[in-house]
Amino acid sequence: MIGLHHYLVVSAVLFALGMFAIITRKNGVAILMGIELVLNAANLNFVAFSRYVWGGLTGQVFAIFVIMLAAAEAAVMLAIVIAVYDRFQSIDVDRVDSLKG
């Protein structure tokens, strides 16, 4: 029988994978993909908790909000990536280090 734990484990793994991408990838878009993975992991948790612990649709509503924000974030990200590429001819985040101390 598939239970809460299964989903939580999958979620944890996805979270770790996303985190890994965020930390290791140089490319800004790849980092964004990692962020999306993390967000999805969180969403999965929301929905799983909603079904097994909380009951009702609250978790799903939260997940929908997260998806909304992810969409907005992706749109802004695309704009930023284009602007950054325009200026630096690269979207490698380690080359975009004007704020380096």
Binding site: M19, I23, T24, V93, D97, L99, K100
Partner: protein, 644 residues
Amino acid sequence: MDLATYVLIALFAPLAGATVQIFLGRRLPRHGDWLCVGVLFVSFVASIPTFNAVWANPAFKLQILSEWLTLGSFGIPLGLQVDGLTGIMLTVVSFIAAFIHLYSVGYMHGDPRYSRYFAYLNFFTFSMLGLVLADNFFLIYVFWELVGLSSYLLIGFWFERPAAANAGKKAFIVNRVGDVGFFVGILLLWTQLGTFRFEEVFKGIAAGQMAGPLLTVTGLCVFLGAVGKSAQFPLHVWLPDAMEGPTPVSALIHAATMVAAGVYMVGRVYPVFTPDAFVVIAYVAGITAFFAGTIALTQFDIKRVIAYSTLSQLGYMMLGLATGGYVAGLFHLVTHAFFKALMFLAAGSVIHALHTQDLREMGGLRAKMPVTFWTMMAGSLALAGVPPFSGFFSKDAIIGATLGFVMAHPQHLLLALFAVGGALLTGLYAFRLMFLAFTGAPRDREKHHHAHESPPVMTVPLVVLAVFAVGAGWGGWFERLVRPPVELPHGPAGAHTLALALSLLAAGLGILLAYWTYVVGKISAGRVADRYRPVYTLLFNKYYVDELYAAGVVRPFLALTRGCAAFDLGVIDGFVNWCGRFTRGVSRVQGWIDFRIVDGAVNLVGNAIRAWGAVLRLVQTGVVQNYILVLLGGVLVILLLKVL
């Protein structure tokens, strides 16, 4: 309109003219000369009702009172008063000034500061009229100083010429010496009597509130002012130099305004002087009258000759006043105003024609300038005291008063000699001038050739003034109007007859000597001069008074100032510089502390922060993932704490 209004119009019309002229003169048609001359005639016309009122009632007295400032119980009054003397002076001054203005239109024609000249002239007249009308010491002092200021401006009118500028300064400074005395006298009166008003002062003195040596000293102090203004010995030195100003200005100064102010003031405050003071005044006046006459004999500058004659005549006026001839002295002031104004204007006419002031370059002008000659002749005769010219009446009265005084006080015989000798000298130098200028052969043909009679605007005033120079002594009108403010001692009865004889004799002798010397040639002026060379040199150099001043006053003063300067530079500046050096030393130490210790501490703090910043900056890599990794580490720690 009541009389006060006329008086105020007469007083303020010249001021209005001056004010308008100084600001707008250059933009007015003809540079505003018509305005300035016009306001003077307005002033003259407005003074006529005053004269009429005084004539109708010699005891007439009008007072216009006002308060200038009030501080608690203490107030300074501003008052004008009109009595017989004022009425005469107001009319005479505005009359003569009006004609001098008119004459100036011709004389000053084409001057670059034509409009400014008339503004000054108006202001001068206003000052003198105010002085005449003042009814208290305070106001008279104010106008006294305004007269001084105006004379300074006008004497130095051609300030491009150093001589004129210096003359202006000299007049002003010498006057200041007298003014200080006047001021001290006023203050003494104020402290003793607590008032400035003439009436109250006189009342107080009559009541014996102030008497004895103090009053004598006060009177002498006041007289010192008159010495300055009226150019009595030894402060006469400015007057000959004042000839550097335009000739109409000289006429105004000598006739109506400046020098008259001193005599008028003495007459106005007559009760202030004690008999002791009068003795001093009489000697000063006598010396002035005689010695100025002797100097006039040797001068060749036509204006200087007349100037010294003025000195001499001023001496007579003072002498008259001092020896009890109150009316005589003031009468001579009035007659002298007419004929001296006439003589200056005539001399101006000659200068205008020849463009020289040197008598040695003149001669033979009688035919060329008949009007000038005849008017000047009238003036000279009046000056010499030849009957029936006006000067005779007044001068005769003065000599009479002097002789009366000497008879009463025989120890003062010298005064009588001064008076009679002065009369002789007057005739001599007056006709020396006339004969040198107008008779004989022209000594400078070039200048003579170009000479011509002056325009009517100049000759008309000459003729008008000549009429008065001739007739001003007739009729005893002056005695009717002017009464001495105190009871005067009557001299011995025979004095007057004797005086008449002596003065006529002296004048006639003087004229005769002049005739012999300069027309007939029996006496050679040059040989006389050679024989008495030291005397001549002494006279020619005006008794070396200027040089004495230079040696006795100016040089010591300059030495004193140099000493003060040395003290200032050496001691005071030295102290100041030492203070500065000391401060600098202290501040250098302070600066060292500031730089080394305070700044060092501040810099230490700054550098420490910067060094730490440099270390901490390494953390700021600019790579987001580094931050996230650290963040992850933090999350791990929190999880560890929570889970385990």
